[in-house]
Amino acid sequence: MQTSTGLRSDIRALAAIFSKGLKHHLRYPGEFLLFLLLPFLFTFLILGMGTAVAGANAASYFAIRTGTTNIVIYEILGGAVWMISWLVVEDVGTAIRDEQIKGTLEQNFLAPVRRFTLLVGLSLTDVVITSLLFLVVVGVSVAVVMPGSILTIIPAFLALLLGLIPLFGIGFLFAGFVVRFKEPYIFTQIVSLVFATLTGTYYPVTFLPYWIQLLSGALPQTYVIEDMRRIVIANQTLVNLYGSLFVLLALALVYPVLGYAVFRRIERRAGVTGEFSKY
């Protein structure tokens, strides 16, 4: 008789969830293509608007405020992290709701698989998808604009991987809220926009009022974007950035625990109130 607990069964379940998620992404390539194109599109828009505002002096005004004239890479790095965070929030956060709408949630929850394994499985698919997004968007941009710094994308990628852990925690938190409040798509859009605004996607967070900067400091994307810019544009190493990496590590502990705890609480409540069957 096969056991439904233990490491081996967890790994099997993880592999199955991972493979299912990957199939879903492969079946709808248009969605992924959009995530690939948007950072380029938004960077182009900001560049175009900036040029319209400042004309030939656009780059110098930009440099005064950001310390670099490398507008494309500065904006692309922010845009890529934004899209990655959007994808994670949408995938992990709305997956439960999607299963609910398709009528497969009950089967999944009745399967002898722990909820944590289910959520981690969803996250594993996103590690692959977001890595691909990073390599295409950031890799191609750095290769074209500053080919001499192409190797800097490796430590930048490591910073991203560390930042993904708390981001998945936020995804768990979000998954719980979606079970409770429904309407995942508008919720995703608002949360992603708030994240983009708070984390310095297209500007330094110091541009924001002080009290908003406090909120920015609680979001992992703020550190990932800043670290990536320092690594790729200012040629800093991960060792130089130990302070923000330490904060990312702390967030990597806090968010998954908090997110899972909130998810479990809402899920248990939903089991009692029959929330799962409500649309």
């Binding site: 599109l41 182009f44 828009l45 175009g48 608007m49 900036g50 505002v53 309407e183 983009a196 297209y202």
Partner: protein
């Protein structure tokens, strides 16, 4: 027969009213969407506005003493154009898809009502809510940044807006027809939407575009509609001589309306013949 003709406009008005009220009811039935739209739309604006501020001259002074610098004014009206344009792609165009998904398209098409009223009713509802969102963002802009949005020539701006809305209805009808024809409407809609943002001078002057792209941008009707409205609002230079540009804008608006109606009717007829009205 005569009385039927006399009553026809009144009947169309009734149909339009019913369609508008139906869409409004459906809109307010989903408060999360409603609140979300009112939060996310200005957020898009402020987010990009902050990004653009990086490029502004360091000691930037407001133009015309209206509190809104010329660059930010350009951007603000671009934001307005984008909201309005989204009406035709995601509002009017999507109306047929929504009925398809709800399984009510056949009932609607079987009813003794004009097809266009469904679409016009939805357009009117979206125009109303878009106007509220734009007004609310303008007020927010004032309270958060002290910037007052003003229009230099309100009469010409309203004329431009009228032409723009006529074009949007025409283009929206075409997009609505497209939903009966293609499955990947979202992807096409996104492409058109992003193409509009880049190619029609909505957010920045088309002179920024490289040569072959600029030539293509000059062929797009929305380029001139955006241009005359922005000229009326901010006094920015026009692409063509003034009279010629207004003639081009009027022709573009009328042309798009006619094109939209013809395309929608043709596609609908085709879909009826092929039996694909509710299956695309």
């Amino acid at each position: 027969m005569n009385s039927r003709n006399i009553n026809y406009p009144a009947r169309l008005l009734e149909e339009f009213k019913a369609s508008f009220l139906k869409d409004l009811r459906s809109y307010v039935r989903y408060p999360a969407w409603m609140v979300g739209e009112f939060i996310s739309t200005p957020l898009w604006f402020f987010f990009f506005a902050l990004g653009v501020t990086l490029f502004a001259p360091v000691a930037s002074q407001p133009a015309n003493g209206n509190g809104l610098s010329t660059g930010m004014g350009y951007f603000f009206f671009g934001f307005v154009f984008i909201i309005l344009f989204s009406t035709s792609v995601w509002g009017v165009g999507q109306s047929v898809r929504n009925e398809q998904e709800a399984g009510t398209l056949e009932q609607f098409f079987l009813a003794p009502a004009n097809r266009a009223t469904l679409i016009l009713g939805r357009w009117a509802r979206i125009f109303l809510t878009d106007s509220l969102i734009i007004a609310y963002t303008t007020v927010l802009l004032y309270y958060l940044g002290g910037a007052v949005v003003s229009v230099l020539n309100p009469v010409m701006f309203l004329l431009g807006l009228g032409l723009y809305e006529v074009s949007l209805i025409g283009f929206g009808l075409f997009m609505a027809g497209l939903t009966m024809r293609i499955k990947a409407y979202n992807s096409i809609g996104n492409l058109i939407f992003f193409g509009y943002m880049i190619l029609t001078g909505a957010l920045f002057p088309i002179s920024v575009l490289p040569r072959p792209v600029l030539d293509f941008a000059m062929l797009l009707p929305f380029t001139y509609l955006n241009d005359i409205m922005r000229h009326a609002a901010l006094g920015t230079p026009l692409i063509l001589p003034e009279t010629l540009e207004y003639v081009v804008a009027i022709l573009a608006a009328v042309g798009l309306m006619v094109f939209g109606f013809v395309a929608f009717n043709r596609i609908e007829h085709d879909a009826r013949v092929r039996g694909s009205i509710a299956t695309s």
